[in-house]
């Protein structure tokens, strides 16, 4: 058996041990984590899905200051970062209220860790109640039993 034949579950464990533990406390750690996982994703098509799954668990968004006319464009960029995965750890350097206007709250339904650095000069203030929107209910499809 070659390393390319490893089952996805085992591959997932190996990749997890290879990258820094989430959540990254420094952006440098996050950058390193991202680089390692992107490299793995390019090794072999079987590795791509596993690497992307771990990649999407942690997302660090910087400079969320965009103007309204660019919201849609940024929303699409963000979508590519998180779609198809469960994001558990989110760091936002910028305006959290803009993020919420740009993205669907559904994207962040699995979040257990949120760090926000709005930066003093971005806005006058951030309303604390904004963060209350993030805790979410995970709804499973209804089904019937007898």
């Amino acid at each position: 058996m070659s390393i390319l034949d490893l089952p996805p579950e085992l591959l997932l464990n190996i990749f997890e041990y290879t990258v820094p533990v989430s959540p990254s406390l420094e952006h440098e750690d996050y950058f390193q984590r991202t680089q390692v996982l992107l490299s793995f994703a390019l090794v072999h098509s079987q590795w791509t899905r596993v690497a992307q799954e771990i990649l999407r668990r942690e997302v660090w968004l910087g400079d969320i200051t965009f103007r309204d006319e660019k919201l849609e464009q940024h929303g699409q960029q963000l979508m590519r970062k998180v779609e198809g995965g469960r994001t558990l750890y989110l760091s936002v350097d910028g305006d959290i209220e803009v993020l919420l206007r740009t993205t669907a709250l559904e994207w962040w339904r699995d979040l257990i860790y949120l760090r926000n650095r709005p930066m003093y000069h971005f806005r006058n203030s951030t309303r604390f109640e904004t963060f209350a929107q993030f805790p979410s209910e995970h709804l499973f499809p209804s089904f019937s039993t007898e």
Binding site: R115, R117, F131, S144
Partner: protein
């Protein structure tokens, strides 16, 4: 029969820094909002604005019933200090990390509250204060900790603070009780300060980080 399964996944950690956060009275009417939140971090000197009733209303056991880890870095508020801002949460806090970027941190009111609450088990102090001995042994008198984490530089010029910390680490009677005193120092500077400390082995020394833990402090 139709069954809907609802699994609630809530934030467990909320870390806020470098900003102005406002609280208004409408917060008081929110349903309990952070029910699974276990760790709240205010770092990089956040500015907290709002009426004190609105702040205390949200930073309270009602909205954060499971909060046990709190880390605060010298929050600024025009009307009140950390003791008033976070006082309602303190009774349920088991690990508390305090950090400050000013050179002379002193908040007797906060330490007096800390001394009153029996649930606090671990305290991390990344502060510099000429009053540290008074804050710990007088204001926080009665405090019973599993561990106290600090930098040896915090001892400063005090001639009596170090002997009292040693007494604590040895289990001798003092106004507070601490099972472990943990010092953080860069590896290269360990050899510079420890030889001058008599009985330095009564302390636990760490060199895996330069300063006492803050945002990820869990008492270990």
């Amino acid at each position: 029969m139709l069954i809907r399964i609802v699994l609630t996944i809530d934030l467990e950690t909320l870390h806020l820094s470098m900003a102005i956060f406002s609280f208004d009275r409408s917060n008081l009417f929110l349903k309990p909002s952070f029910t699974k939140l276990r760790r709240l971090v205010f770092s990089s000197r956040p500015v907290i604005r709002g009426k004190i009733e609105a702040i205390q209303g949200l930073l309270s056991p009602t909205h954060m019933p499971n909060l046990t880890h709190l880390a605060i870095a010298s929050p600024e508020s025009s009307s009140c200090g950390p003791a008033e801002l976070f006082g309602h949460l303190l009774p349920q806090i088991t690990t508390l990390a305090l950090s400050d970027i000013t050179t002379d941190y002193s908040d007797s009111a906060l330490f007096r509250l800390i001394g009153q609450y029996s649930n606090l088990r671990h305290l991390s102090l990344a502060i510099e204060s000429d009053d540290l001995e008074s804050l710990l042994f007088t204001d926080a008198a009665g405090m019973q900790l599993e561990s106290l984490h600090m930098s040896p530089f915090a001892i400063g010029d005090s001639a009596t603070l170090l002997p009292r910390l040693m007494a604590l680490a040895k289990g001798e009677p003092e106004t507070i009780r601490v099972k472990r005193v943990v010092f953080y120092e860069e590896e290269e500077s360990l050899s510079a300060s420890r030889p001058y400390m008599v009985d330095s082995e009564v302390f636990e020394w760490r060199n895996d980080r330069d300063v006492p833990p803050f945002e990820d402090f869990d008492g270990r």
